[in-house]
Symmetry: C2
Subunit: 127 residues, 2 copies
DNA sequence: TATACATATGAACAGTTGAACATATGTTGG
DNA sequence: CCAACATATGTTCAACTGTTCATATGTATA
């Protein structure tokens, strides 16, 4: 469809040439369809947040309940500091939301995507 | 302070005591419902695999096509070694399958869970 | 079987990360 | 305002991870 210059090749070479041309086209198509690097980077960053057992435990403990920092720490036998640090990461990634009530701050999963992602992962793990 | 028994407390304190007892029950219930640590650990390990931009790019490039190592390396502008190393991790986690054809080995996503997990993540990122 | 090609593996190194500890900030009741 | 409680943040350090380079293994073909 574009400029060529390979017509002088042998039949066999031509066939091979066509094959790898087809391959090249596939590769080029995939390259075009591929989302921007930036988006894929963000996607990886998102999964990275799920990719720590402490954070997964915290997320899972909030699967059906809102909890305050202290609850989580006692529930999972973690230090307050550790929980707070991890919650900050979860907040930044928009995986959890929170509201203040007096001295306590109650955290909960931000939306259904979070639950859905965890559930999908669970299905894969439980096979 | 600590060990003086709560009988002598005011009505209000008793109410608070009941409140925190209720909280304790909630916490205990969550603890019981929480999956085994081992499962949550595996779940985190799974997401960890998705949590690297190189691996995400590789997975995404295979979203609709099977590809050989060399294709992926050219497509994503990565070294053959790097791709091969990452594919090993993806194999181990059962995220990709492969078949040999002559000198080449074609990789593809292992099942629909993989696609589903990526898609869910994508939705969350694209907000 | 010798050679080139395709992929896998091993080792080392730089960059990243989570936990622990200390301390700071914020909130409520007295 | 102070004391007690709840949460957040800064720093340090050991452990882990991805890349690179070198090399090995596996496969087809002249």
């Amino acid at each position: 469809m574009e400029e060529d210059g390979r017509r002088a090749e042998s039949v066999k070479s031509a066939a091979e040439g066509e094959l790898s041309d087809a391959r090249e086209n596939i590769i080029r198509n995939i390259q075009e369809q591929q989302p921007d690097d930036e988006i894929l980077y963000d996607l990886a960053e998102l999964f990275k947040v799920f990719g720590d057992s402490t954070r997964i435990k915290i997320l899972y403990s909030m699967f059906e309940n809102e909890l305050c920092v202290n609850d989580i720490a006692r529930l999972l036998n973690l230090s307050q500091s550790s929980v707070s640090h991890q919650l900050r990461i979860l907040k930044t990634s928009k995986l959890v939301k929170f509201r203040r009530e007096g001295k306590s701050i109650f955290y909960s999963l931000d939306d259904e995507h979070v639950r859905a992602i965890i559930s999908m992962g669970m299905e894969h793990v439980e096979e």
